[in-house]
């Protein structure tokens, strides 16, 4: 009790990540760092070397006799159901039996005494393939008559035909938006330890321990209660560990039970990148009609996605692309359709924004198209189309936008970043500078918060107060670097009014909180913070009741002060009250629960209120482009982002900065490149280029909109922060586009696809030659 006035780690204050010291000393334990029990075996995946084929036969003789090999697992070794599809579609086997459907698809797993032995042996299989034609992207797939992996979504409001008829301008165009590898620094890993009966415990790196648990039970053919999944922390997730761990957990668990030995599986980086899904690439057709002022009258959009060979999460991902195809703009008449195409590539999955960013990119591209067509500053076109009052507040999915703060947010950023002045200076600079051209763009983000699968919007927690006054905190969320555990512990510290250090943060485990949702959709602190608060309040209520009875005061006279409790006229240490409560046999443990109110969604009708609220943000970026080579650099970025009343401003700022850079990487240097055979050739950091420190904007100002308070009753009126700032990176893309457009005097909207690599930038400049 160093300070009687305030507690350490209070909500709304900066607090370092709870593991910060362990991170910097190397003592933070990741799954691969857990001491291996004697007898641990290692698994490695053998994969397909063609993109599409019937499997006529697999000869594993050489694999089995290789040094150190103990066993080889195939589909025949799956005791339960050979399926790990996260949505129950049964379209994703652990190991295929008849067909391989992408280059690099896991076909079997080698179990050996060492990882090295397993890895070497995995190369030795002889597979007899009957090769079939393949389709790698949504356009090829559609031509080849491939099916969709899941039902498409249609969002419709108003009358697009009528809206178009009245509008003086119309632009129809297509844009390709590339995918993205998660490139979490810690790759996938699962470590299964067999127990008695049917039990197995799996330590792994996942955002969704409950799903890993259910999937392991499913493939083992046992009840969920036989399987325990533990996650202390991940070395990054970003959506890549929401469903993609299923395979690794399943293989490790099957092998562990079969051999009654611990089994660890850790693919190398190349296999991690080729065998697990990524952000969906999209081919987007847009058709936008608008008036002379740049006000949109009608939008029709087709969103075809490279989903890969199975559905995985492609249904909700492509849905979310449509949910965000309006970004911040009111479309009076709108028709949006998704086309989740099957392709012979790895099955794409969740990635920060979950399809939303692709929708937002399309919305921003339409704004740019309009601006170039009318010769306007794109910011004016943006402002002309923002959601507004009654009559201009309905989204394409018929939810009202009631918490719009973009006018203020954009206004402040525009002023702080001196957007107008700099844009004029840049236009003047471009007149003089022959080779180096500059561009600037200010783009907004509006992002809907809640899982669109309504039942996912629930969470649980478990809090114990021990009789020495120390507190054990557990909840269903997982820690992947975002500081969720820190924030939830702050909420609990605040509730009990005890120092942060009193709270022990523990690993996420399916043993303590069941049936959890993925830590995804930016929902981690919204859901788990509320669930933890519920548990804390239950214990506080019991302590209050006990104190009132014992000291013969009313419950209103019991007040939790920093590290102590006022009971009537007396102030006693928190520890003392806890000890007294224990002696009086008060229950000092509670399970908490929370479900998000108000939300509902009718997918068939395309109507409802899928989101509890919206988070907003905006960024302004300036770039320089070398028009001889297409090389560029980001000169300056200013960000103003809305996190409501922040639970922890410094952690939120870290999320905003990191998301911006990741979003910028997606739209600039991060390129996924498949060769004609369907092999992903950018499958490690040597070939797949995420941003470096030197790619940061030369001037980088990030601010939280400190005045913002969530209108909805979220945890301490904060807002979700994981995904929304990812889309702030779009300002870099549009600034590059402006620099390109300057070579044709801004009269033509450049045909620039994402990612805007130096090559795409140069080629867009070439295309403009002779125009404008």
């Amino acid at each position: 009790m160093k300070d009687h006035q305030t507690i350490s780690g209070a909500v709304h204050h900066d607090r370092q990540h709870d593991s910060a010291i362990k991170h910097v000393t190397g003592r933070a334990e990741y799954t691969d760092d857990i001491a291996e029990p004697y007898g641990t075996l290692h698994a490695y995946l053998g994969v397909s070397t063609v993109a599409h084929a019937n499997i006529k036969g697999i000869d594993l003789t050489a694999v089995r006799i290789a040094p150190g090999v103990v066993d080889v697992l195939t589909a025949d070794d799956v005791p339960g159901v050979n399926d790990i599809s996260p949505t129950g579609k049964h379209d994703e086997p652990v190991f295929p039996t008849e067909k391989v459907e992408f280059h690099g698809q896991p076909m079997f797993a080698v179990i050996a005494e060492t990882r090295d032995a397993a890895r070497r042996a995995a190369e030795l299989a002889q597979v007899d393939y009957e090769v079939l034609p393949h389709a790698l992207d949504p356009v090829q797939a559609q031509k080849a008559g491939y099916p969709m992996v899941t039902d498409p979504l249609k969002l419709e409001r108003g009358d697009v035909e009528a809206g178009r008829k009245d509008a003086p301008h119309r632009i129809q165009a297509q844009m390709t938006v590339g995918g993205q590898d998660h490139m979490y620094l810690e790759g996938h890993i699962a470590f299964a330890i067999p127990g008695e009966d049917e039990d197995v415990t799996v330590h792994c790196s996942t955002q969704h321990p409950s799903e890993a648990q259910h999937m392991v039970a499913h493939v083992l053919g046992v009840a969920n209660n036989a399987v325990t999944v533990n996650v202390r922390r991940m070395g990054g997730g970003f959506g890549g560990k929401e469903s993609q761990m299923n395979l690794f957990c399943a293989v490790a668990a099957i092998a562990a039970k079969k051999h009654n030995r611990p089994v660890k599986i850790r693919p190398d980086r190349d296999q991690d990148m080729t065998a697990t899904g990524k952000r969906h690439d999209f081919v987007i057709d847009y058709d936008v009609a608008f008036d002379d002022e740049g006000r949109i009258q009608a939008v029709e959009g087709g969103f075809a996605a490279r989903c890969g060979y199975s559905s995985d999460l492609s249904g909700p991902v492509t849905d979310r692309a449509l949910f965000h195809a309006d970004n911040a703009y009111f479309y009076p008449n709108v028709l949006l359709k998704s086309r989740p195409m099957k392709t012979n590539t790895v099955s794409n999955t969740a990635f920060r924004g979950f399809g939303g960013p692709q929708g937002v990119v399309a919305a921003e591209r339409m704004i740019e198209e309009i601006a170039y067509a009318l010769g306007k500053d794109p910011l004016d076109v943006r402002k002309a189309n923002f959601y507004g009052e009654e009559g201009r507040d309905l989204t394409p999915y018929h939810q009202k936008v009631e918490d719009n703060i973009l006018d203020r947010l954009i206004g402040e950023l525009e002023e702080n970043a001196e957007y107008r002045k700099r844009r004029e200076e840049i236009i003047a600079f471009n007149k003089e500078s022959k080779i180096i051209k500059k561009g600037i763009a200010l783009t907004p983000v509006k992002f809907g918060i809640s899982f669109t699968a309504t039942w996912y919007n629930q969470a649980g927690s478990l809090i114990h107060v021990y009789n020495d006054g120390s507190i054990h905190l557990n909840h269903g969320g997982t820690e992947m670097g975002q500081g969720l555990n820190t924030k939830v512990a702050q909420v609990v510290a605040d509730a009990f009014q005890v120092d942060f250090e009193r709270i022990k943060i523990t690993k996420t485990t399916t043993e303590k909180v069941p049936n959890t949702s993925a830590t995804a959709a930016s929902s981690g602190s919204d859901l788990n913070g509320m669930a933890a608060l519920d548990a804390a309040e239950q214990i506080i209520a019991r302590l209050t009741k006990f104190a009132a009875e014992k000291y013969e005061v009313t419950e209103a006279e019991v007040e939790f002060l920093p590290n102590r409790v006022r009971v009537g006229g007396e102030v006693i240490p928190f520890d003392t009250l806890v000890k007294e409560a224990y002696m009086a046999r008060v229950h000092l443990s509670a399970a908490g629960f929370y479900k998000t109110p108000e939300i509902h969604w009718d997918r068939a009708a395309g109507k409802g209120q899928p989101f509890f609220y919206y988070a907003y943000g905006a960024s302004c970026s300036e770039v320089s482009v070398d028009t001889l080579t297409g090389e560029y650099r980001v000169e300056r970025t200013d960000i103003l982002h809305d996190v409501g009343r922040s639970l922890n401003p410094i952690l939120d700022k870290g999320q905003v900065e990191g998301a911006f850079i990741q979003g910028m990487g997606w739209l600039t240097t991060e390129e996924l490149w498949w060769d004609g055979e369907g092999r992903l050739r950018t499958h490690a950091p040597s070939t797949y280029k995420i941003p470096l420190a030197s790619d940061r904007p030369r001037i980088f100002n990030t601010q939280l909109a400190e005045w913002s308070v969530n209108k909805k009753r979220t945890i301490k009126r904060s807002k979700a922060v994981g995904e929304p700032p990812f889309m702030l990176g779009i300002s870099v893309f549009e600034a590059l586009s402006m620099a390109v457009a300057s070579t044709a005097d801004y009269t033509v909207c450049p045909r620039l696809d994402a990612p805007a690599t130096p090559e795409r930038v140069l080629m867009a400049i070439e295309t403009l030659k002779g125009q404008g």
């Binding site: 990540h17 190369e123 620094l185 070395g235 080779i435 001889l628 050739r681 950091p685 070439e766």
Partner: protein, 487 residues
Amino acid sequence: MEHQHDIRFLLNGREHSVKDVKATTTLLDFLRLEQRLTGTKEGCAEGDCGACTVLVGRLHNSALRYEAVNACIRFLASLNGCHVVTVEHLSGPNGRLHPVQQAMVEYHGSQCGFCTPGFVMSLYALWMENPQPTEAQVETAVQGNLCRCTGYEPIVKAALAVNQYGTPANDYLTTERNSLTAKLKAIQPETRVVTGPEDDRAILPLDAADLADVLAENPKATIVAGSTDVGLWVTKFMKPISPVVFVAHLEELKAVELTDEALIIGAGVTYTESEDAIRDAFPHLGDYWDRIAGWQVRNMGTIGGNIANGSPIGDTPPVLISLGAEVTLQKKGGSRTLPLEDFFIDYGKQDREPGDFVASIRIPLRRDGQIDAAYKISKRRDEDISSVAAGVSVTVADGVITSARIAFGGMAATPKRAAGAEAALVGQPWGEAAFDAAAEAVKQDFTPLSDWRASAEYRALSASNLLRRFYLENEGGTAGAVRLAVA
């Protein structure tokens, strides 16, 4: 004399002698699997993410020097006589954080924490060498470290603040420098070191003469200097490379000599070791040198290795060829010298006979009227492999181009001169017309490939445009800046 059969080194505070070290055992596997020093992480196993960064201290010209290296592609056997420092050794025995660690905590430089030990080690190396770096120097020091969470901003701020939390003078590696030096001196080999099983044999020759002997005895041996490429043959491709002859420790291959006519660089000199001499003699290579891989790789990789490897996309051959460099090959009983461009015969084929090793590179100094440039185009500015690399050296006398040497990487199966572009320039007056002609001619000089780094069209167009850039940035006109600013 009986050979030494163990690898002797210091690991953090302890001396180790490990017998039967396989040539292909990496330092990272040794740390994580055998020593359970799990603070050092595997992120990519190819030297591109930096999660495995450790410090290696070695005696160089009798002084002890520490450098950040990638443990994932560093072979344990190459560490004979070295001091390995891992993240576990940074905080004091009382648990007190090291200044670098303290700064990273204070500035919120970690989120998921997996890349953090690697950043801590790179920043440790930077702080020891340069306790008050500029932002640009920080960025250069962490070129080889990827972070996917923070966007780097807090890490850079932490790096700039380290010195507030302590100075290198009080650091263990400074205060103990003398005793560590003595300990390392005591374990320097006196004979050849031969270790590992028959099929995974590591050989460390005692000196250059012994190297010639070893290669005469093992003409098919794999010569490994920095292991920044061969490391991947092992970690990525699981290729057998036995027997392996390690050469990075050979002082004779580490000479950097400046004569009146040339700069001569030993084949074992790393990019980092050659940096100052290169910058002084060839200022145009300064920024280019910083864009070769990341810092950890520059601390290990050698110019000799970059050449001997024969890759068409190595960064140094084009710029060395344009400067008229020659390579000296040595073997037992003799040596020969040839123009560097002649060393590259075809894809995967170099003019290197069994028993030959690359001994040194001779780069003629610049002459009056010589204008040089080095260009690298890559998807990402730093720590990337070039789509196109170019060295351009043009000599102008009395307004006339008297000689032109233009070499490209990434445009053909080998690093190659652009004969047509050179011909278009020589004899012409310095001016836009000559360079327009060269920019057109260079399109005929090459038939580049399309791959994941760049398309053939982009390679051809940007190669051509680089010659226009060369003209524009040397003509002193008023077109404004021609190249993006660096820092």
